[in-house]
């Protein structure tokens, strides 16, 4: 249902929407990617990027560049933009913007917990964390020994606290538990975000429900594929699927009992939007699925910019920029490791 957003949206959201659309205009285009793919060294990449918005972030880097530096600086730019928008935002946009970062927060928590489990140095782990998902006491995650401690010591202060209610057990942490925790948290997060967007109503609710449903479905498929052949029971698997999305509830029933990739395919092909996606893949193929999903996501995110007066553009912009950084990382890695033949494998053109 459409409200009268056009009437009042610009009072608080107009400025930021203009900003985010301006940012969107600076996303790298296909011709940029073509040029980048022709680069011979990382310095060439730097040189090409210096003509884009990334220029000021890279110009002071000394010459033997590393892929990590490029990625780090590009992420820094995204973070700066995000922080600027967050500072300017008023309710409920500020909450909406904060929601965007919770996903990274979950990933960071999982990263640190897994890292300490394998006796990695905390400082080293912290450097690997996504800066958008940082919170104050993230370093003290290393102290926790089991789930309930994790919650009681650290996460209770973070926005993730409510999502944790389903995974508080006193079981010791191990890889399997952590992975289940990640997915449970993600499920709770997506559902919460979904409810929040529904509450906002209007075009935001409509577009975000599409984007989040896609996200939920993609996670469901990934969980299914990744859990094939593990000791995860069907019921447990079923519990990790988010309770919304195109696949909910019947698709979930089918996915829960899948035993191999072709069964997943069979389940998914009943849904027209995913049918086209799977039709591009040959049977038994799961490698290219990720790329297909990413491409589909980018397409949907770009479409979010077609409408005005809604918040989904912020979500879409952040996601697109992250995809762009993934692209840059891939290109830089390929260039650095002399694997230029594979450069096109994983790059997803945004425009």
């Amino acid at each position: 249902m459409y409200g009268f957003e056009a009437l009042t949206f610009n009072i608080h959201g107009g400025y930021l929407e203009a900003i985010v659309r301006g940012h969107r205009a600076t996303l790298l285009t296909a011709s940029d990617y073509n040029n980048l793919c022709q680069c011979e060294t990382l310095d060439d990449i730097k040189m090409h990027l210096s003509a884009t918005e990334y220029g000021p972030y890279l110009q002071n880097e000394p010459s033997p560049l590393h892929t990590t530096t490029i990625v780090e600086k590009c992420t820094l730019k995204l973070v700066d933009e995000y922080k600027h928008m967050l500072c300017q935002a008023t309710e409920p946009l500020s909450t909406f913007l904060e929601y965007i970062t919770y996903g990274h927060m979950i990933d960071n928590v999982v990263l640190i917990v897994t890292g300490t489990l394998h006796e990695r140095d905390v400082q080293e782990l912290l450097e690997k964390c996504h800066p958008l998902g940082m919170f104050d006491s993230i370093a003290s995650l290393a102290v926790a020994q089991n789930m309930s401690e994790l919650y009681r010591l650290v996460l209770v202060d973070t926005p993730l606290a409510p999502y944790f209610s389903q995974c508080i057990t006193s079981e010791d942490l191990d890889d399997m538990n952590i992975e289940i925790m990640r997915n449970t948290l993600y499920k709770a997060y997506l559902e919460d975000f979904y409810r929040f967007c529904q509450k906002l109503g209007g075009a935001t609710a409509e577009i975000m429900s599409d984007l989040l449903s896609f996200e939920a479905d993609r996670r469901a498929v990934n969980i299914t594929i990744n859990s094939i052949g593990t000791e995860l029971t069907r019921d447990d698997r079923r519990k990790l699927y988010s309770n919304f999305g195109l696949l909910y509830p019947y698709g979930h029933e089918e996915l829960a009992v899948c035993e191999d990739i072709d069964q997943v395919r069979g389940a998914m092909e009943k849904y027209p939007p995913y049918q086209s996606l799977f039709s591009k893949l040959s049977y038994g193929e799961s490698q290219l699925l990720d790329k297909a999903f990413y491409e589909e996501e980018v397409k949907r995110l770009c479409l979010a910019f077609e409408q005005q007066f809604h918040y989904a553009v912020f979500f879409a912009y952040m996601r697109l920029r992250e995809q762009e950084i993934r692209n840059l990382m891939w290109i830089s890695e390929c260039v650095a490791q002399n694997q230029k033949s594979r450069v096109h494998d994983s790059v997803i053109f945004i425009f």
């Binding site: 022709q38 680069c39 060439d44 040189m47 110009q59 370093a139 102290v143 009681r152 010591l153």
Partner: protein, 803 residues
């Protein structure tokens, strides 16, 4: 007659600023060995605009990409050095050092060495600073945490040994406390099984830290904290960080592990403090002595570093300049193309015709200096693109040119309104801002800016000051004209003065009570210059001033608009378009002047004769019933037939400017292309090869679309006809603002406090209104403003841009 006029016009001396410089499209062919030098000489000269011939190539596919990269790397090093210098607080010299030419390669190695040296020094200092910080923190922990331990123990001791309190009460000596401590310490510690960890943590993290400790130990701990006396310098960011010293008491091995982990997570440095007071003192002493050692080393290091930095600072501007120039040269070289033999670089670009010989000289010099056997070829070519617009301005006219350019850059060789704006702009401003008191204030401001011109021009000013400074000559002219207009209006901060003699009027009686209601009596000849001061506050003041200012506004507006139309005539003549003269300029002149020109005539006649005619009435009934008798509004004989003739002329002028031009254009077009069913073949293949990338890129397909042309002409005519009314009315803002200004300044004068505030505001609004009158009412009569600016490759401009 017409020929005479044209001859006269042709013989007029040329105005420099009226038409932009004549440009020519040139091709330069550089032998490879002298290209760099030649381009840098051209950069010094700064009057050639190169065209990018490699637009389709990405930056790293170009010829001199490596050199550009090297320059970028060098400028990065320079930025690093500058940052280090700024951080260290070493002053940069203001003036450039002597321009001894340095080799780029040499500079590159030098920069590399300097950077290396600095990085090494920094890492050394950082390491030292790190150890120093540790010691400093240890010292503070010793002092503070020692305090906690004793106070805690003293407390327990006091509880246990109440009897001895009388003996040791309140003497507060550490010695006494330690005496007890010595006796009691081992017992208490072991009895309770209490351990402690002391350390130091950032103040901002302290609260979270305490909370985390509390949670981790489930509240079984005691947390003591105190603010550290000294701030600690962060070795990486060189910022001062406030820290707090803490001591946690807890029990159990498990808790210890957790607490240590938390400390690590929060970046809290833990130091073991001996419980023994003697050991503690000894340690403090040791730490203090080591601290002073470190301080000395650090100081020495810092001094050395500052010396190195200041020697770099001396050279830095020169180096920066050099690198910037080199980068610009290579960027320009990247715009050039290789010729077929790959031995020469081919460049194309625009330059003003007057600079041709100088450019050739520079090129010869370059050939000679680089010992090249082959000269640089420089020749003029044809181009289909319209040339860029380039005005040679000086510091006075520059600001006015900027004002005009802000509206739109003139078409190539179009009449430049800036020529007239130099006077009309400040004058129209002054008409609204006429007050010689305010004018003097403005004059002083402008004079200050001009007096400190040489000093201020090198400095970085704020955006507002920069604006004022850029327009200092505009301000000067504005203030002079305001003084002039203020004298005419006879207002000095809204107070009239008797400067030019005595007033022509006197009151009817000595009390002067009826001056505001009845009026004054004229006793002698009119006041010689400007408005009679006696009128201020009298009955005739407002009617007189209104009438004066309103009519003056219309006269000024008519003059300026006529000037605009006449300039369109000069444009048409210059570009040889008789069509525009006959079917645009002439009817426009007739239309405007037969209506509002006539009004101006009436105003002047009324002023001269002192007639009582109502001009509104005359103008309105000229349209409504032109045949009626004018009766008491008749100003001169034959006015009625004149009006009818003028009205008819105006009516005829409208279709005149609307219809003929597009039809004639169509006819000319059809004649020109009659029977030509095939397009003209452009340059043949041979030509293209012999002249790489020359004019062949842009083929203008002249297509004549009649309906488009007609609609355009219709819009133009309607705009002019309606504009004649609205633009004339628009000039009335001169009157309105002038009136508002004098009224406001009267109010401000009465409430002196507001003076400064109102003043600032009014300058801006008068400025904006003057701007509008120029941009819209004046320039829309003739100015196209769709050209593009000449952007030469020039080192001087490069410097301005960067700073």
């Amino acid at each position: 007659m017409q020929r005479r006029v044209e001859e006269f016009l042709d013989r007029l001396p040329e105005m420099d600023l009226m038409r932009s410089e004549k440009m020519t499209f040139v091709q330069l062919i550089f032998p490879f060995e002298s290209a760099h030098r030649a381009v840098s000489y051209l950069g010094d000269f700064g009057l050639v605009q190169f065209r990018d011939l490699n637009e389709e190539k990405s930056p790293f596919q170009r010829t001199f990409v490596n050199q550009v990269k090297r320059c970028a790397e060098m400028s990065r090093k320079l930025r690093f050095l500058r940052e280090q210098i700024n951080k260290a607080g070493v002053m940069l010299p203001d003036t450039l050092a002597v321009q001894s030419d340095i080799d780029l390669e040499e500079l590159e190695t030098q920069l590399g060495e300097h950077e290396h040296e600095l990085i090494e020094m920094n890492s050394n200092t950082e390491r030292l600073q790190h150890t120093y910080n540790e010691l400093l923190e240890f010292k503070m922990v010793l002092q503070k945490a020692g305090g906690f331990l004793f106070s805690g123990k003293e407390h327990s001791v006091l509880e246990e040994r109440e009897l001895e309190e009388n003996v040791f009460s309140n003497n507060g000596y550490v010695e006494t406390a330690s005496l007890i401590d010595k006796e009691m310490r081992p017992a208490t510690s072991e009895q309770s099984g209490l351990n402690f960890i002391s350390g130091i943590v950032c103040k901002s993290k302290a609260i979270m830290f305490e909370r985390m400790l509390f949670r981790a130990t489930r509240g079984n701990m005691l947390f003591n904290q105190a603010l550290a006396d000294e701030v600690v310098l962060d070795p990486v960011t060189a910022e001062e960080v406030e820290k707090i010293v803490f001591t946690v008491f807890f029990s159990g091995e498990q808790a210890k592990k957790k607490i240590l982990k938390i400390c690590e997570a929060f970046g809290a440095n833990c130091y073991s403090v001996p419980e023994d007071i003697v050991k503690q003192r000894q340690m403090t002493r040791e730490v203090l002595s080591r601290l002073s050692d470190f301080e000395a080393t650090l100081d020495a290091g810092l001094r050395h570093r500052n010396k190195v930095l200041s020697s770099i600072a001396l050279q830095l501007p020169k180096w920066t300049n050099k690198v910037r120039r080199e980068k610009a040269v290579y960027d320009t070289l990247n715009m050039l193309n290789f010729d077929v033999t790959k031995k020469c670089l081919v460049g194309e670009g625009w330059c003003p015709i007057f600079a041709k010989t100088k450019i050739q000289e520079a090129l010869h010099r370059a050939t000679f200096d680089s010992n090249s056997l082959v000269g640089i070829i420089f020749h003029v070519m044809d181009s289909v693109d319209s040339p860029p617009t380039y005005f040679r301005t000086n510091k006075v006219t520059n600001a006015y040119q900027e004002i005009v350019d802000a509206y739109g850059v003139a078409q190539y060789q179009e009449a430049n309104p800036a020529v007239y704006s130099v006077i009309t702009f400040p004058f129209l401003f002054a008409v609204m801002f006429g007050d010689w008191g305010h004018g003097i204030c403005l004059l002083l401001g402008a004079l200050v800016l001009i007096a400190y011109e040489s000093k201020l021009s090198n400095k970085k000013l704020g955006s507002f000051m920069e604006l004022l400074f850029g327009g200092r000559y505009v301000l000067l002219f504005m203030s002079l004209f305001s003084i002039y207009c203020g004298l005419i209006y006879n207002e000095f901060f809204s107070v009239p003065f008797y400067i030019f003699g005595r007033s022509a009027y006197e009151c009817r009686d000595s009390s002067c009570s009826d001056a505001a209601s009845v009026g004054l009596v004229k006793v002698r000849d009119a006041y010689p210059f400007g408005v009679d001061p006696k009128w201020r506050g009298s009955r005739s003041e407002l009617p007189f001033l209104n009438s004066l200012k309103m009519k003056m506004s219309i006269l000024l507006g008519m003059t300026q608009m006529n000037l605009g139309i006449i300039l369109s005539y000069f444009n048409a003549r210059f570009f040889g378009s008789s069509l525009d003269i006959r079917y645009q300029f002439v009817p426009q002149m007739i239309f405007l002047n037969s209506l509002f020109g006539y009004l101006s005539l009436l105003i002047i006649v009324k002023w001269c004769t002192g007639a009582q005619a109502d001009l509104y009435h005359v103008m309105i009934y000229m349209f409504l019933s032109p045949a009626d008798d004018l009766r008491e509004n008749e100003l001169f004989w034959g006015q009625r037939p004149l009006q009818i003739v003028l009205l008819l002329l105006a009516i005829v002028a409208v279709p005149w400017m609307l219809f003929p031009k597009p039809f004639i254009q169509r006819k000319l077009h059809l004649e020109r292309f009659q029977g030509r069913t095939y397009g003209i073949l452009g340059t043949s293949e041979m030509d293209i090869e012999s002249e790489p990338d020359s004019a062949r890129r842009h083929h203008h397909h002249e297509e004549f679309n009649f309906s488009e042309v007609f609609v355009h002409q219709m819009i133009h005519s309607i705009e002019f006809v309606l504009g004649a009314v609205s633009n004339t009315a628009s000039y009335l803002r001169l009157w309105a603002l002038s009136l508002a200004h004098s009224e406001l300044s009267t109010v401000f004068y009465e409430k002196v406090l507001l003076l400064a505030w109102g003043y600032d505001n009014f300058i801006i609004s008068a400025f904006l209104h003057a701007l509008r009158l120029h941009w819209v009412e004046f320039q829309n009569k003739f100015y196209h403003g769709d050209g593009y600016k000449f952007k030469p490759f020039s080192f001087a401009l490069l410097m301005d841009e960067d700073e």
